[in-house]
Symmetry: C2
């Protein structure tokens, strides 16, 4: 049995995603396809444009059999944390045989060499990295230059490693190697626009450009599959979106104005003076864009700053994130599945090393059962499980507050059963 895993945000699901999925299936010829998807907040440090259940629904309509949620504590981390959360989740399910990820270079040897080198020589690389960081560079840039020195590569290398999908790819492979996972990995070349491009292009536009079009009320129908378009439109018509960082502006600034420097002490990602920059910038910012610009330096990228805001908001304690980045994902939360996916789920439930959460109201019961089960080798830490899970719940409760329609601002969005999709369309 072949099970393909893909790691996605689908924010929103567009033509490029569909193409990628079809290519991945061609390469692997899987019996089943699983997606690990960000929940209501995404890696760029932004709320998703529609909620995770609606996004899971679109995924199921487009060829995914089961959608699991990447816990918020990983979805809101940099490439390293994001990848580690996703790969540990895939690996602990034990049934996934292959993973395919998009890549600008699509050069498996190169990506693997870099990943291996990084993994096997942590000290030597760390020293080079420190030198670059001292120059005030952002982490991705410092890593790039340190890697160059480390691998004695030329300038072409720099260009290759600049691409966000390659960076993620390296992190996926690092995690796979680190876990000594048996999962095979494949790279496929990304099609169309780059991840961060803001302009709409032909048929294949970036998710960023599509979100911008949506928020500005511009047409976007040609850039997404019809199934995606319909669900997006339905959600908007109910007033459950579009949700954007701009919607959260007043809340975020007010929240930050209440903070003292010491409040950031225990929060992940407030290192290297970021706390000071926050406190200073908030004093002269009337708009969120002002604030972000004022905190921005070569070292602190916009994504990192936005994520840091959410780390403070959701109280991402340093110790727990570090713990999470050692032990990995503690549960597999099902957002949705197809009838076909249901068969795979029964196999997963028998083999997984982490509990499968289908009905979140029962999560404590499930945890208790797992902790007392001597028949299987579980990889669960009680405290961390509860902490990670609680962050997903809180994230959803905050997310719905930013729906345009007040009557939809439901508390406890998470306490519902998964989406079940009749057939793939």
């Amino acid at each position: 049995m072949k099970v393909l895993g893909v790691i996605v945000e689908y924010n929103p699901f567009h033509n490029g995603h569909l193409y990628h999925l079809q290519q991945a299936k061609k390469i692997v010829s899987p019996d089943y396809v699983i997606a690990i998807m960000s929940g209501n907040f995404c890696q760029r440090g932004e709320p998703a444009i529609i909620n995770k259940f609606a996004r899971a629904e679109i995924a199921l309509k487009n060829g995914i059999d089961v959608v699991f949620e990447l816990p918020t504590v990983y979805a809101l981390q940099d490439a390293g944390g994001f990848a580690f959360g996703a790969i540990t989740l895939l690996d602990k399910l034990t049934v996934v045989t292959d993973v395919v990820f998009g890549s600008e270079s699509a050069d498996k040897n190169f990506i693997t060499t870099v990943a291996k080198t990084l993994l096997e020589n942590p000290d030597k690389f760390d020293n080079l990295l420190k030198i670059e960081l001292k120059k005030g560079l952002s982490f991705p840039n410092a890593r790039k230059f340190a890697l160059k020195k480390f691998l004695n590569e030329n300038e072409d290398f720099l260009k290759m490693i600049e691409n966000s999908n390659d960076i993620l790819g390296i992190e996926y492979v690092k995690s796979i190697l680190k876990l000594k996972s048996k999962i095979n990995y494949h790279l496929i070349k990304r099609i169309g626009a780059k991840y961060n491009d803001t302009e709409l292009e032909s048929k294949y536009s970036s998710a960023t450009a599509i979100r911008n079009a949506i928020v500005r009320n511009n047409p976007f129908e040609t850039y997404v599959p019809q199934t995606s378009y319909k669900v997006l439109k339905r959600e908007f018509s109910y007033g459950r979106g579009p949700v954007s960082l701009e919607n959260m502006e007043q809340f975020i600034l007010t929240f930050l104005r209440l903070k003292h420097r010491k409040d950031f002490e225990s929060i992940y990602s407030f290192t290297e003076g970021l706390d000071q920059r926050f406190i200073k910038a908030i004093k002269t910012s009337k708009k969120l864009s002002d604030f972000l610009e004022k905190v921005k330096t070569k070292r602190f990228t916009y994504s990192r700053i936005r994520r840091a805001i959410f780390h403070a908001l959701f109280d991402f304690k340093k110790e727990y994130i570090e713990f999470s980045n050692k032990l990995g994902t503690q549960y597999a939360r099902i957002l949705g599945f197809t009838k076909k996916g249901q068969k795979l789920l029964s196999k997963i439930k028998k083999a997984s090393k982490i509990p499968i959460i289908s009905n979140p109201s029962l999560h404590e019961k499930v945890l208790k059962k797992v902790l007392t089960d001597k028949d299987r080798k579980w990889e669960v830490n009680k405290k961390l499980f509860i902490w990670q899970f609680e962050k997903d719940i809180v994230a959803s409760n905050i997310y719905t507050m930013f729906y345009p329609q007040k009557n939809e601002r439901k508390y406890g969005l998470d306490f519902r059963k998964p989406i079940i999709e009749g057939e793939n369309e």
Copy 2:
């Protein structure tokens, strides 16, 4: 020299306020008039409709010579705390000879008897109060019935003490007696609508009704003096108002959704199970009005619940509020003065027992000077001064975030010099 003090909110300044001020002047014939005014948040547990500087400006245009701010830690307390903050401020200035307050009964003997009795027999009254509170009554109601038993009065008494101005009046007198203050107090009958009336009436409408009219974009010109109307209109035209609790709905609900029960433990006013009611109600509330209704009981009035929200928001620590309710106001922050008022201010600066804050940027310098001054008997506690002052600053920073116009959402509204009004108009 006679100096009249009035304790006000002026939210907004209306015809009834002007009448009250004129009557007060008739009774006292003062050389100067001082107002102690709530800042950006008022005793009903709501943001003021326009900011404190604009409200001070209106007061100065209508016959007040100096406006001092009632610190936020008192403005957001029940009648007892509110009155204590205001009276200690007036008393510590040492120059105030008379205070006049509005009253439904205007029965000085009655108010004084009640105040004295309450003050002199705390234990006996407390026991009666506890019995009534155990019935689940709100504090004002429980106090009313306990007082009835205590004073052996009849049903008429109950009606008299139901009125919010009489309740405040009793608290003012209690504070005056407690401090053994030399300030003379006078009662004048309130004119027109009751404090809480929501409907607009003839010339004299309640501030609540006027705020409702403003928020609903209805005409309100006939209910306020022209000077008040002009300033209100000017503030609205700049987008610095109207500010209302409704503007804060999304923020407040999101803020509360982030809270755990233990977060309320250290906060003032979360006693008698209010924390539990908050946590329970937030889980089923999509709107602020839902939330308030769900928390509401006989015991917890709407005003108390709204104030409790702000206590949590501004981190009103139990110990510091209790400390504040023992030591009283720690500084006299000038919001504005007339040319005439300036003369009074120089007298006050020579005699006051608490520091006069004119330029808030210098507040630490002023405090330091006072703490090392051996020539005068100051009544200042360093820690409490800093704590109270910081709450005013934070309150203003949060307040401006709810201006309709983003460009006006200035941080540090407080760090400006007082309004100086040329002449009373």
